[in-house]
Symmetry: C2
C-alpha cells in the first residue's frame, strides 16, 4: 500500500485526484499506476483501470487470478466491475469511498472468488484525497 | 443501433464477443468501437469503454452530457460505472444481458441525469451474441 500511496502522490503532483494502485503477482509488482482522468481527458483512466490493463499486458493474459490489487481508495463501481472481469485473487484498498465506493451497492460486484480487504493505511490513503479536495475548495473561496 | 450492430459484426469477424457501440452528439457519430478484449488481452476493452475514451478525446472534455451511447448489449457494471462518470444524456441498448447486465444490481449505477432505454433492435442485437456463443459451444463438441 505504501507503493500505491507513492503513485497517489504522483497523481497529486499532476493536480489529479490522488489515487494510486499497484498489482502484485508472486511478491513482485507487475503494474503501477495513478489516476490520470484529467491528463488524458478520460473518465475511464482511473488508477485501477490502468493497473489492470497494464498487468494483463505484462502477464499476457486476461485473468489476474494469482494477483493482488492494492489501491489507495475503495474502487468505484466501474473499477469493481473491471476487477470482476479480471478475477483478482485479492483486492486490498486503503480508505473507504463513502460517496462512490462499490460497497455501497447491495449486491457483490467483485468477482466471487476475489477476497476484498479494506482499511489498509486507511488514514494516510484517506487524508491525501481529503487534503486534495480541501485545497481545491480553499482555492475557490 | 444499426451502426452499433455494424461494429458488433466487426468484433465477430475477429472472433471477439460481438458487441458494438457508437456515441452520437448533435446527430453525428463521434465515436464507434467494438469489443476487443481478446485482441488487446484486456478485460477493460469493452465496446462502451473504448467508445467513451474515444468520444471524450474527440470533444476534448470528460463529460458527454450532450451525447447518446448506443450499444448492442446492455452495459455490464463496469461500463455502467463508466457511463456514470461520463454523464451521458442518454444510453440506448439493444439486447438485455441477463447474466451481467447492470440492471441486475438493485441501485441505479448510471448517472442520475442519464436516460436509459433498452430493447432497441433487441432481437438482432441479442441473436448476434447468442449465435456467437452457440458456435463456440458447437466447436467444442
Amino acid at each position: 500500500m505504501h507503493e500505491a500511496l507513492k503513485e497517489a502522490k504522483k497523481a497529486e503532483a499532476k493536480d489529479e485526484v490522488p489515487i494510486g494502485a499497484v498489482v502484485v503477482c508472486n511478491d513482485k509488482i507487475i503494474a503501477r499506476s495513478h489516476n490520470l482522468t484529467e491528463t488524458l481527458t478520460d473518465v475511464t483512466a482511473h488508477a485501477e483501470m490502468q493497473a489492470i490493463t497494464s498487468a494483463e499486458n505484462t502477464i499476457g493474459g486476461k485473468f489476474l487470478e494469482e494477483c493482488t490489487l492494492y489501491v489507495t481508495l475503495e474502487p468505484c463501481v466501474m473499477c469493481a466491475g473491471a476487477c470482476f472481469w479480471s478475477r483478482f485473487k485479492k483486492i486490498v484498498y486503503g480508505a473507504k469511498d463513502l460517496k462512490r465506493g462499490a460497497s455501497l451497492i447491495k449486491r457483490n460486484i467483485y468477482h466471487p472468488k476475489s477476497e476484498v480487504i479494506g482499511g489498509i493505511l486507511e488514514k494516510e490513503c484517506g487524508e491525501i484525497v481529503t487534503a486534495f479536495f480541501k485545497k481545491k475548495r480553499d482555492l475557490k473561496l
